[in-house]
């Protein structure tokens, strides 16, 4: 982990000070999979996730001069990803039906026909979805998630608790069928 951080810092320095595209390209290679995976599970749309990942890396390149080595690069990159996702969300407001869908108790027929875990995650609210994916898929600690989302750790825990309750309800209901 320390070696990765040092390597990231060296590559970022070269990208920031010398405009070294090759160095930045190595960072993209290292983080393209987790970033694309995050967007894929956030949006459920493969093409949109590629576009958002692309936008995220371009923003990172343009802002690399403002990267502070006090935070590690992955935290900084995920923060850009977080902002990119929310900017995209703002430009496409979910319908009232989508907002309320998860709060409506599902009938057995609905559970049976609907949701594997990936689609269940898509039914979560944006911040709950992000917290869940960073915690369970990207294996991040609550503290790191809090820094990425720029909220207190307690808020992250609340998001996770609500998300767990919702997901458990659906998964339990799905298993009983």
């Amino acid at each position: 982990m320390a070696t990765t951080r040092l390597n990231d810092a060296l590559l970022v320095s070269r990208a920031a000070l010398a405009g070294d595209r090759e160095a930045f390209g190595r960072l993209v290679e290292r983080y393209q999979s987790p970033v694309r995976r995050l967007f894929l599970h956030l949006t459920g749309d493969e093409e949109l996730s590629k576009d958002l990942a692309q936008e995220c890396f371009v923003k990172a390149w343009l802002g690399v001069g403002s990267f502070r080595a006090a935070a590690n690069f992955s935290t900084w990159l995920y923060r850009i990803a977080f902002n990119t996702f929310h900017d995209n969300n703002r430009s496409r407001r979910p319908t009232a039906a989508e907002q309320d869908a998860f709060d409506t108790p599902a009938t057995p027929r609905e559970i049976d026909s609907a949701l594997d875990l990936g689609r269940a995650v898509l039914m979560l609210k944006g911040r709950e979805r992000q917290a869940v994916l960073l915690y369970y898929v990207e294996d991040m600690a609550v503290g790191q998630i809090a820094r990425i989302m720029r909220v207190p750790s307690g808020t992250v825990k609340s998001h996770l608790a609500r998300a767990r309750a919702k997901l458990s309800k659906y998964l339990t209901g799905y298993e009983k069928q």
């Binding site: 920031a16 000070l17 010398a18 405009g19 595209r21 090759e22 930045f24 390209g25 993209v28 290679e29 393209q32 999979s33 694309r36 995976r37 894929l40 599970h41 590629k50 990942a53 692309q54 890396f57 371009v58 390149w61 343009l62 690399v64 001069g65 403002s66 875990l117 990936g118 995650v121 994916l133 369970y136 898929v137 767990r164 997901l167 458990s168 998964l171 298993e175």
Partner: protein, 116 residues
Amino acid sequence: MQLHTAFDTLKVELPDNGFSERIVRMLPERSPVLPQIIVGFCSLVGVALAFLLVGAAELTERMVALTGLLNVQMLALTEALSRMEPLAPTTTALCVGGAAIAGLIGVALGRWGYEI
């Protein structure tokens, strides 16, 4: 079903398939001139301070003497240095101090300078 286990199914590695290459190709130009200006400026300040504090004549004389010793007599560097008269403590302190000031300016500008 434990949630942690359930989420293992989502932990897929996505193959690059040229994605990174496409990203690098589409990156807009960045030419970080400011860091190069900062480094160049600090170098000039260091050299200027050395000449100002030590004196051009003495510095030049010592550099020529050192070069001459190495080239003509092909002595080891330590032997060549041992034949030179040591700098006065004051001169040494001024050289070190000047280099330190230039270095601090460089670090400060490098740390905050490219926010400008």
